[in-house]
Amino acid sequence: MLEPIRPVLYADDSIDDRFIMQEAWRESGIANPLELVEDGDAAIKFLERADRDSGRSTPPPGLIILDIKMPKLNGLEALERIRALPRWQAVPILMLSASLHPGDIGRAYQLGANSFLLKPSSLDELVELVGAFKIFWLKYTEYPPQPSP
């Protein structure tokens, strides 16, 4: 189980998709805070800041969700960079893409993604997906201890 105070970091350049995810998050009644950033670069900066803070102000994210197609640093590049950061090698990362490009799927797993999900067509389906995510990733999955400073 992921401690309820540990946030989930979600990177997506679409303001609409960030809004939809927030809605689904709320509807699914997930206690963990959802931290939103607008691209891969911002996600890396968020993690570096969490490293510097060493969890003093906010706890470091326990799970990361990355969109694939983003400006500056796309999801796959961000995934590669995060896996290269010493303290973030073990954090579960889920990819959430709008298309099932076979090349993207293979590459994501190669780079160390833990799951590859397709953005559903409707809010209801996203609520269903987030519900399943809540049970599997937040309730039943065990996590490594918080990255030590």
Binding site: S14, D16, D17, F19, I20, E23, K69, S97, A98, S99, L100, H101, P102, K119, S121, S122, L123, D124, L126
Partner: protein, 449 residues
């Protein structure tokens, strides 16, 4: 024995007493160089000359006509025989030369195929015009060189030229496709076949190599591949960017519907619901189109597939099948096919079967496998739906063909096109029988395991 006696007689009793012997080389020479006619002429002239010469020798017993007759007859017979054998020799040499020339013309005349011989060590021993045209080497530049000159240094480093010859030595033949080098250093795509040439005892005495220049075809293939990759990347980008606003449209309409439920007029709520449903329908359409495109382009390998588990998976996970009676005549058994293609077929047929049913009728679907032929399995999906009019049966497998009006509950019009494409990619096809008002029966023939 007979030959010995003849030679003895010819040497001792015949020619020894005459001068015939000295005329034999002349007959042989005339036969070899002139053929049968000149040989016979030389024989006759020699016989006359010898008779005259012998007759002019005083006191010789050989002058006596009784002693002259037998040697002359023998000489004439021998002369004729020599002329005839010379004629045969002449003919066979000429035939051999002609055959050699024809063969050389054939090899020289072959266009687009370099044909040449290698010795057992891979040294080039012969060369033809196409070989010169393809590689740029003249015969005098290449004869005696090792065949590895055509290979890139990377290929030479990995020992590819030797490996090909070794395979040919071991198995009799080796084929290969790859980039090779011309004299000027440019590359050509070669399809080559090396055949070992063996002597009567089976020892390899050399190799015959035939190489075809397929550069143009290869470049075209690469261009098509590049174009396909670009198209694929383009279609994913388009789908990605088309889907984003649709998801937003759907989500905002949904959120307003949920949050403002109490304050919304029922008619406004209905309009918002339609916005939401339209967005979902278009999103499904984009995804179906992508699936259809992917089915055409992707490479699929066939293997043994368990139909029971595929049908179970589809019934378990596909939305919209809950309100139907789906009867599966298990065991459906195993077939040679491909998981994802069969999943596409079964899911699209089931979703259609459940969706297109007259109002008030509970959907019922029968799934079974007919194994009348030992090596073929006929997968049958039968429904009690509204059926398809006979005049439409031929076009229902084309994309974007929809028989009913387009509304929220209708399909995208691509479902059956996906079924057909998926069947085709497994080397199969899909057939349908239908009766309006009663239902349809879809059949897909697959190889048994």
């Amino acid at each position: 024995m007979g030959i010995c006696t003849f030679v003895q007689f010819f040497a001792r009793d015949g020619l020894a007493e005459t001068h015939f012997l000295i005329y034999v080389p002349a007959v042989v020479a005339a036969g070899i160089y002139g053929g049968f006619g000149p040989g016979v002429l030389a024989t006759l002239l020699s016989a006359v000359a010898s008779t005259l010469v012998t007759a002019s020798i005083p006191y010789s017993t050989a002058r006596m006509p009784s002693r002259m007759l037998a040697p002359t007859i023998v000489f004439l017979a021998v002369g004729l025989a020599i002329s005839y054998f010379d004629y045969l020799l002449h003919q066979s040499v000429r035939a051999l030369r002609q055959s050699e020339q024809r063969f050389r013309l054939l090899i020289e005349g072959v266009r687009d195929h370099a044909i040449f011989l290698l010795n057992p060590n891979g040294v080039i021993m012969s060369w033809n015009a196409s070989a010169r045209r393809i590689t740029g080497y003249r015969a005098d530049e290449i004869l005696g060189k090792d065949v590895s000159v055509f290979f890139s240094s990377a290929d030479r480093d990995t020992g590819k030229p030797t490996r090909i010859l070794e395979t040919a030595r071991r198995t009799g033949n080796a084929t290969d496709e790859g980039w090779r080098l011309r004299k000027d250093g440019s590359r050509f795509w070669a399809e080559s076949s090396v055949t070992a040439i063996t002597d009567d005892l089976g020892a390899v005495v050399g190799f015959a190599k035939v190489t075809r220049d397929l550069t143009e075809r290869r470049l075209k293939e690469e261009a098509v591949k590049k174009l396909l990759a670009e198209f694929e990347a383009f279609s994913y980008t388009v789908s990605h960017d088309l889907r984003a606003p649709l998801r937003a449209l759907q989500a905002y309409a949904s959120v307003v519907l949920k949050r403002e439920q109490a304050r919304l007029e029922p008619s406004s709520a209905e309009l918002l619901r339609r916005v939401s449903m339209s967005a979902i329908r278009m999103d499904r359409l984009i995804q179906d189109l992508l699936t259809y495109g992917r089915l055409s382009r992707q490479d699929y390998k066939m293997y043994e597939v368990d139909l029971d588990s595929i049908v179970t998976h589809v019934i378990e996970y596909y939305a919209g099948l809950e309100g139907a009676d789906i009867l599966v005549h298990r065991p459906l058994g195993r077939v040679r096919g491909q998981d994802s293609l069969l999943t596409q077929i079964v899911s699209n047929l089931l979703v259609n079967a459940v969706k297109f049913v007259p109002k008030g009728r509970r959907p019922r679907v029968d799934i079974r496998v007919d194994r009348e032929h030992r090596d073929r399995a006929l997968l049958i999906v039968e429904d009690n739906g509204m059926g398809i009019p006979a005049e439409h049966l031929s076009k229902i497998f084309e994309p974007f063909v929809r028989l009913g009006p387009a509304n929220d509950d209708s399909g995208t019009g691509i479902g059956l096109a996906i079924v057909k494409k998926a069947a085709e990619r497994m080397g199969s096809n899909v057939r349908v029988e239908s009766e309006v008002g009663k239902g349809s029966r879809f059949m897909i023939e697959l190889p048994s395991c």
